[in-house]
């Protein structure tokens, strides 16, 4: 039997003239934890809703553990444990009643149901609030109940839409650990905005932008194929005026853009973005020498997943409209993300990993 658990072929979803999903094809194999990334309205939730047979694609199809979503939607749904965004639960029910109901809906009966409930109570650590009304639970506890219902029938595939949104850092770590644990035996697809979470949790990343899949690789491969960037600090002097420095570095072959990050009375800090993966440190140093600038610092930064994500999706997040109501709520934090990321660029030590080197040289 093939180890392909999800095979999406040419999935397209149109809402009037707008394409929420545009010819998306991908496969997910047994035992993979796949992070589904994309800006708001990119089509993440739409894809998940199609895979769970909640909505139908306008074109294309998908097979869930061999069951086609058109020909055998019940079979496809049976293979999936699904946690929708915002974790919808019946607040008036007790956790125990809720799990029993969801288990029965998943076709479990008597002994199977009892065993299933016992297992998820243990796996998701629900014992302390098992007899409590769902509406009285904290967000993290509700999330665990949501995960428990998705796991109760031991599905081979888990689809989790924003499983960590709205959780505090401690709760997020708990859920992340749980997902990693679950991913050892199951295929997991999770959509998220949290790139750090993807790097820690997922073996593979699918990035979707404007309904199109723009990247499909491991987090490591994605970051390694990105272009490096450089920060250069030069001392201010007669020759090293801001314009002159920018012009000198801008002339280097392979430099895409030069941006002044900071400028005070003593020094100027610039960011140099290359147009290729070539190492420009020697050229930058030579340009500084030729220009007569005092080079205080030259640093190379490996591009992280956040920058890759921005590169691949920035144009989409600027002019995209939300494709569904659920995703509208995410718009604000996501719109802030690039700005935050830009502000962090200079300070974030994580970015300096890999080939970061500092060269203090003084001309003359």
């Amino acid at each position: 039997m093939s180890d392909v658990m999800i095979a999406a072929r040419g999935l397209t979803k149109r809402y009037g003239p707008h394409r929420a999903l545009d010819n998306a094809s991908f496969e997910v194999k047994k035992g993979e934890i796949v992070g589904f990334l994309g800006p708001n309205g990119a089509g993440k939730s739409t894809t998940m809703k199609i895979l769970t047979c909640y909505i139908a694609p306008s074109e294309g199809t998908a097979a869930i553990k061999g069951a086609d979503i058109w020909d055998d939607p019940i079979g496809a749904r049976a293979a999936i444990g699904y946690l929708p965004e915002s974790t919808p639960l019946y607040g008036e029910m007790l956790v125990a009643e809720y799990l029993e109901f969801m288990g029965e809906m998943r076709g479990l009966q008597k002994d199977g149901l009892r065993k299933g409930i016992r297992r998820v109570v243990e796996e998701c650590n629900l014992a302390s609030f098992y007899a409590q009304e769902i509406r009285t639970l904290s967000k993290g506890q509700k999330q665990r109940v949501g995960l428990a219902q998705a796991l109760i029938h031991e599905p081979p595939i888990l689809i989790l839409d924003e499983p960590m949104s709205g959780l505090d850092p401690n709760q997020a770590v708990e859920i992340r650990d749980l997902i990693r644990q679950l991913g050892k035996e199951r295929t997991v697809i999770l959509s998220t905005h949290n790139l750090a979470e993807v790097q820690v949790t997922c073996q593979r990343v699918l990035i979707i932008s404007q309904g199109k899949l723009v990247a499909d690789d491991t987090p490591q491969a994605l970051t390694s194929r990105g272009r490096n960037r450089y920060t250069v600090v030069v001392a201010k002097g007669d020759k090293a005026r801001e314009g002159a420095v920018r012009e000198a570095f801008g002339k280097i072959k392979g430099v895409d853009s030069v941006r002044i990050l900071e400028s005070d009375s003593g020094e100027t800090k610039l960011e140099v973005l290359p147009s290729s993966k070539d190492d420009l440190r020697a050229d930058l140093f030579k340009a500084a020498v030729d220009g007569g600038f005092t080079l205080l610092e030259l640093r190379q930064h490996a591009q992280n997943l956040e920058q890759i994500f921005r590169d691949l999706t920035l144009t989409a997040s600027d002019d995209d409209e939300d494709d569904d109501d659920e995703e509208e709520e995410e718009a604000k934090p996501a719109a802030k993300a690039p700005a935050k990321a830009a502000a962090k660029d200079d300070e974030d030590e994580d970015e300096d990993e890999g080939s970061s080197k500092s060269t203090d040289k003084e001309k003359e």
């Binding site: 909640y54 909505i55 019940i74 109901f101 809906m105 076709g107």
Partner: protein, 237 residues
């Protein structure tokens, strides 16, 4: 069928976790208490026809109140997405919800049983028309509940579902019956055919006419089909 009963059972229990079921039952009992007994003692006849009339009027608001949240609230809270992505059919969801509402309607009718029992203790009550009246009011309630469920399947706003189904229910249960004497010709015939009050009248008198039974069952089936189609249509929206 098992899935249908599981959904019906959960929904039925959830009725009693909230205030709607208690409010509706209490209101109907109060209406009967206030309007039936004075008329009964005034008439001095051991009959409960008046009670069925009152229940028929009550169902026009009680039905929509019981059904307004069945799908609209699930849509609003997002639980419908989870329910629909279970390995079950949309028809099972609709049928389960309908059965839950019908179950509550049965409980409500059972709460009115002390009325004919009391009447029987006060005089000679013919139980034939009582049971046929209950059958008629049960079928009419089913039709109103199915109409309410279909409106609930179109929206995620309970109030919208309530007012729309109230409007249609009042039209079918009361308004058409009221304006019938002022109509004539073919229009009167059509209005008489679609009016719920015309079909409940014979049943309340003790006459079980298969046409009345089939009419209520047809309306119920049609409304449930509409609800099913509305739920299914989300896939293509």
């Amino acid at each position: 069928m098992r899935n249908t009963l599981t959904i019906a059972s959960r929904q039925f229990r959830s009725y009693f976790n909230g205030p709607v079921a208690y409010i509706v039952i209490c209101l109907v009992m109060i209406v009967i208490g206030i309007f039936f007994w004075p008329a009964f003692f005034l008439a001095g006849r051991a009959s409960v026809r008046q009670m069925f009339t009152l229940i028929a009027y009550s169902v026009a608001f009680a039905g929509p109140a019981l059904t307004m949240g069945l799908l609209a609230e699930e849509k609003r809270s997002g639980t419908l997405e989870l329910l629909i992505t279970m390995p079950i059919r949309e028809a099972e969801v609709i049928l389960g919800k309908f059965l839950a509402a019908l179950g509550l309607w049965t409980v409500l009718l059972a709460c009115t049983l002390p009325v004919p029992i009391s009447v029987a203790s006060l005089g000679h009550l013919d139980w034939g028309p009582v049971w046929s009246g209950y059958l008629g009011i049960f079928l009419m309630g089913g039709a109103v509940l199915a109409i309410g469920l279909s409106f609930s399947s179109f929206t995620d706003n309970q109030l919208v579902a309530f007012f729309l189904s109230c409007f249609v229910s009042f039209l079918l249960v009361l308004v058409i019956g009221w304006i019938l004497p002022f109509l004539g010709g073919a229009v009167a015939n059509v209005a008489d055919f679609i009016s719920f009050s015309s079909h409940i009248e014979a049943l309340a008198r003790g006459v079980i006419d298969s046409r009345d039974v089939i009419y209520f069952l047809s309306v119920t089936g049609f409304a449930l089909m509409v609800a099913f189609r509305a739920l299914e249509s989300r896939r293509w929206s």
